[in-house]
């Protein structure tokens, strides 16, 4: 990574998930200088937190690895982690962006040997695993983190633990005096790829998320299935660690609901169909999946994927939006509702209930610096009023990985056109 001076021919990409990485790489590979800003300590975003992708059921490690390799080999991309955009000033072709960079307390000498992690005793919540587990306060954000560099949790700074970490490091990589910095970056165009967040399931009061331990979200379920997750890849229910073999998936948990998210989040049907494969994979003998749905929207060309799951005898489909969930004396989550095919009432206990939560843009309710036009769900719209700030990926719409990458490539192209104009004007 060569340092380069950002000019108004530079493209700034905000967000280092699959969309931001794609936009940054596509632009850099056409010869543009790019600054990629990521608020977390590592790139990869929510894609890196998946166990598998649909439809091919391969691991995200693979797709991300290709992008990371492209990134490592490209001197035109400058990556800033633990960095957040504070403000955007100026107009298309001439922006000044204020970026706050939080201290990592670990410098580039780090070899990710892990000695500091072993020395530190304090445990903190692990956001990579959606706080289902804890990790040491000196940690590698995830197994394939880029940059491969440890992070010290600010909670231990000034404590004996921080000194222990420093003493354990053989490479002089730990710098406890790092401070938060605010830097200004010049840019001709900005790609806003801040992605999405799962809808707060606790707001769907009748489903009891947060009250019943065995009601979890689909993103948490991804972590349960992953070998790097809190259970080492075993699907165990949170209340008592029992093997969860009878699992319910509840679709439209928050989506398509005027009381929650107005839009269809698009990816959740495919995500649940995919997750039935996890159940079958982990419990080939007696794993059972039940999908409660309004209608299955296997978007795009994934109808065949849906048909294969339908043919799977371990999966049952019930056409019904679950009315409420209760808990029985065994800790099972009990789904109550009416099957609209035949109008029969059901009261069905499950070991574990997975809420296929909707997708909410991370930018929702956040004042994006620069007056961005958003739709009624908070997604960024393509609007001339946005100037040369272009939305990409899930900041613009509810998208799966595949479509997010397409959207990011489109945004990169728009940004390239702007900086090309700038270059022409200056020549």
């Amino acid at each position: 990574m060569t340092e380069h001076v950002a000019t108004n021919e530079t493209i700034l990409v905000v967000g280092g998930g699959i969309s931001g990485m794609t936009a940054a790489l596509e632009a850099a590979e056409t010869g543009k200088n790019v600054v990629l800003v990521e608020k977390n300590p590592a790139l990869g975003g929510r894609t890196s937190q998946l166990y598998r992708y649909f439809p091919k059921l391969c691991h995200p490690v693979c797709g991300l690895e290709i992008n990371l390799r492209r990134l490592k080999n490209n001197p035109r991309v400058r990556v800033l982690t633990l960095a957040e955009v504070g403000g955007i000033e100026g107009d298309a072709g001439n922006y000044t962006v204020t970026v706050k960079v939080k201290p990592r307390y670990v410098n580039e000498n780090c070899t990710a040997c892990g000695d500091c992690g072993r020395a530190v005793e304090t445990m903190v919540d692990d956001p990579f695993n959606y706080n289902l587990g804890q990790h040491k306060a000196a940690y590698l954000p995830n197994a394939m983190a880029y940059p491969q560099r440890y992070v010290l949790d600010p909670a231990i700074i000034g404590s004996a633990d921080a000194d222990r970490a420093k003493a354990a490091c053989k490479y002089g990589a730990i710098d406890l005096d790092m401070q938060e910095e605010t830097i200004q970056i010049k840019a001709g165009a900005v790609v806003w790829a801040t992605g999405w967040q799962p809808y707060d399931a606790a707001k769907i009061q009748p489903y009891g998320y947060g009250r019943f331990k065995n009601v979890i979200t689909s993103v948490e379920f991804e972590r349960l299935a992953d070998i790097h997750g809190p259970t080492g890849g075993k699907i165990l229910r949170p209340s008592d660690g029992k093997e969860a073999k009878n699992i319910a998936f509840i679709q439209c948990a928050g989506s398509r609901d005027e009381n929650h998210l107005r839009h269809c989040s698009r990816f959740c049907c495919m995500a649940s169909l995919k997750q039935t494969h996890y159940v079958r994979e982990k419990y080939p003998e007696d794993g059972r999946s039940t999908i409660y749905y309004i209608d299955i929207r296997a978007i795009d060309r994934f109808e065949d994927f849906y048909q294969k799951v339908q043919a799977d005898s371990s999966v049952t489909f019930i056409k019904s939006k679950v009315a409420k969930i209760t808990e029985d004396e065994h800790g099972n989550a009990v789904c109550h509702g009416v099957n609209t095919e035949g109008y029969k009432r059901y009261t069905t206990p499950h070991d574990l209930v997975v809420l296929a939560v909707g997708m909410e843009p991370s930018v929702k309710g956040i004042n994006i610096p620069g007056h961005i036009v958003a739709d009624s769900s908070g997604f960024i719209e393509a609007d001339p009023a946005n100037g040369a700030v272009f939305g990409a990926g899930c900041a613009t719409n509810a998208l799966d990985v595949n479509r997010a990458v397409q959207s990011a490539t489109a945004a990169a192209l728009r940004a390239i056109q702007v900086v090309n104009k700038v270059a022409k004007a200056e020549a």
């Binding site: 929650h260 309004i294 019904s320 939006k321 679950v322 009315a323 509702g337 109008y343 009432r345």
Partner: protein
């Protein structure tokens, strides 16, 4: 009307149009997406009492089943708990629609005559508008004798202990059977109601005329 709405209109059958025009909040019926959360949230166990849960009624309306919908007892069982309205993802005012359909069925004389809710509503209204006060003794007796004299006596006997307790506690006056207490301006109340009826009738006639 655009080409699109014209096509959509073709699929709105006459009964759906009738409901949209005549029933309070009836124009919401087409918005239902058949998720079933209203039925699942309903506290009445409709498998015995409800013939058709709300989203089935909406589907029946859209399928043009006029006779079945207007003569069913289902919407008369609604307890107005509002659980369905709170949970409906499309924000349909389901409780109000249920009452609206019931009212319409009653208005055009298709509601089941002896359905207890409907019967009691009529009884209550007559009872309290007559004198301007509710005569509880006549009201409960009226309900006891709904299914004939013999059943009435049986119901009365079953409730005997409660009635005696109420009399002892001075919550029930046996003399109410003869005339009963009235409000101060009985005639005023009645002329007020008469006027209200007239206004309602003319409004509904205008709506019927389309």
């Amino acid at each position: 009307m655009s080409a699109n709405t014209a096509v959509a209109d073709k699929y709105r059958n006459n009964f759906l149009k009738e409901i949209e025009e005549q029933v309070e909040m009836g124009d919401w019926v087409k918005m239902c997406m058949q998720c079933g959360v209203c039925s699942g949230s309903c506290p009445t166990n409709f498998q015995s009492a409800w013939e058709h849960p709300p989203q089935e009624i909406f589907m029946m309306i859209r399928a043009g089943k006029r006779e079945e919908v207007l003569t069913t007892t289902s919407m008369w069982n609604c307890t107005s708990c509002y659980n369905c309205i709170v949970r409906c993802p499309r924000k349909l005012p389901i409780t109000h629609i249920m009452h609206g359909i019931a009212e319409y069925a009653h208005r055009i004389g298709m509601a089941p005559k002896m359905q207890p809710t409907r019967f009691f509503s009529g009884l209550f209204w007559k009872n309290c508008t007559h004198t301007g006060r509710v005569n509880e003794l006549k009201l409960s007796m009226g309900l006891y004798f709904k299914d004939g004299f013999v059943q009435g006596i049986k119901n009365g006997m079953a409730m005997q202990a409660v009635a005696l307790g109420l009399v002892k506690a001075r919550r029930l006056n046996v003399m109410e059977l003869f005339g009963g207490h009235k409000c101060k301006d009985q005639k005023g109340i009645q002329s007020m109601l008469k006027k209200a009826y007239e206004i309602e009738r003319s409004r509904k006639a205008a709506r019927m005329a389309g």
